[in-house]
């Protein structure tokens, strides 16, 4: 990608300045040096829109449960899950902690003392009470990083494929103020601005029907969430901070999640039709990562 740019530059300058141009490129690290294996690999550039801001557009595998699915084709057969290492495959290289399939258990939001009984009750009965298990929108930040972003100057559209359905958010990125004419909703109302190359999304106007985490962390209608999205060429770092002084003693920092660029297209979300709840006998639940 860089070499044609340099060649254009050389052509424009004329052959007489070829050596100077190439030397400058080498000094700038734009060309690999033959026979120099220790030359560091250059990072791919971040895609940018015409306005200079990073272009977050892409389909992002956000680590929400399917990172560990590494299908194996076995002749006419297929292993989807629980496959073990592929025959003859090299052992997988360790991944950085932030990219691991199962993120470390985070700290939970800290609740005001008078709400501890409710916290304990919902923690115990989370399967029974979880709104997502009844196909309700998960809310923010529980929904996690977007599965797809479509961005143009001044606006980004976040698309989600969740077990509870398909969702979208239309986020102005031009720094405008919050609207005052919206009703409380599951995903709230969002506006965004840029801080350097980081998109900062501020959301409010939530109802109180969603959870902050998978394990019963409730909130009030005073909830505000600030998400930060920063992309490299192939990854998208997503963090969020939760503010709700009506129920929390302090803001809660949602652990970093790193989404990875993928070519697995988003399609219409399958309908959410829960058929399990009535058959769960002991309320046991998974260890929650968030």
């Amino acid at each position: 990608m860089l070499i044609p740019t340099i060649r254009s530059s050389v052509t424009a300058r004329g052959d007489g300045k070829l050596l100077v141009a190439i030397s400058a490129a080498l000094l700038a690290g734009l060309l690999p040096v033959a026979g120099s294996p220790q030359a560091p690999a250059r990072e791919k550039p971040i895609p940018r829109l015409a306005d200079g801001h990073p272009d977050l557009s892409g389909i992002w595998e956000n680590g929400a449960g399917i990172d560990f699915v590494q299908p194996q084709q076995r002749g006419e057969s297929l292993c989807v899950s629980g496959c073990g290492p592929a025959p003859g495959a090299a052992p997988p290289s360790p991944r950085p902690a932030a990219q691991a399939a199962a993120p470390p258990r985070p700290t939970r939001p800290q609740y005001r003392p008078e709400l501890q009984a409710k916290v304990a009750d919902l923690t115990k009965r989370q399967v029974e009470e979880d709104p997502v298990l009844r196909c309700q929108a998960p809310g923010i930040p529980r929904i996690g990083p977007p599965d797809k972003i479509v961005q143009r100057a001044g606006e980004a559209v976040f698309l989600y494929d969740d077990v509870s359905g398909g969702f979208f958010r239309i986020v102005p990125t031009d720094g405008r103020a919050h609207r005052k004419d919206v009703e409380p909703s599951f995903l709230g109302e969002s506006v965004a601005h840029w801080e350097g190359d980081t998109l900062v999304v501020e959301s409010q106007s939530f109802n109180d029907k969603t959870w902050l985490t998978d394990d019963g962390a409730f909130h009030s209608t005073d909830l505000r969430v600030v998400e930060r999205l920063k992309r490299t060429a192939d990854t998208l770092d997503w963090t969020a901070t939760v503010y709700d002084s009506k129920v929390l003693t302090e803001p809660w920092e949602v652990p970093l999640r790193t989404a990875h660029l993928t070519d697995l297209d988003l399609v219409e979300a399958a309908p959410c039709v829960d058929q399990d709840i009535d058959h769960i006998v002991d309320g046991s639940h998974h260890p929650n990562p968030r």
């Binding site: 399939a101 529980r142 077990v163 309908p271 260890p287």
Partner: protein
């Protein structure tokens, strides 16, 4: 077998553990790894829905009576990532054998399926065994 089932449950719980896209209850809270079953029949319908896909398997007993089993399996996102479609599961009505575990609450003809093996030998492994 029991060890395999435990691995399967661990995999499913791991799936459920990693975020809202697949966040769900524990498989062990609904199905009993101590009650494995092997069923042979024909897949008559696929409910391609979340949070879990359901496979309807028509099983004929020795008297010719057909029972339709509901076999719960993975969320749609996992199937899509693997490239597995409902048409592939249906396999044009081919005979198929399902490895599964029974529902804890005693509901008849309800199970969690870990593997489907078709008459021609090809199979789809949906969870560890």
């Amino acid at each position: 077998m029991a060890k395999g089932i435990l691995r399967m449950l661990a995999a499913c719980c791991l799936a459920a553990a990693a975020g809202s896209a697949t966040a769900h209850h524990s498989v062990a809270g609904q199905f009993d790894s101590g009650k494995p079953v092997r069923l042979t029949g024909v897949i008559s319908k696929i409910d391609w829905v979340n949070p879990h896909i359901y496979i309807h398997l028509d099983v004929k007993d020795e008297k010719g009576v057909v029972t339709t089993w509901r076999l719960e399996t993975l969320p749609t996102a996992m199937m899509r990532k693997a490239g597995l479609t409902s048409q592939m599961l249906l396999a044009d009505g081919a005979k198929v054998t399902a490895n599964a575990i029974l529902a804890r609450d005693g509901t008849q003809a309800l199970a969690w399926v870990s593997k489907l093996t078709y008459d021609d030998g090809h199979y789809y492994q949906l969870a560890g065994e």
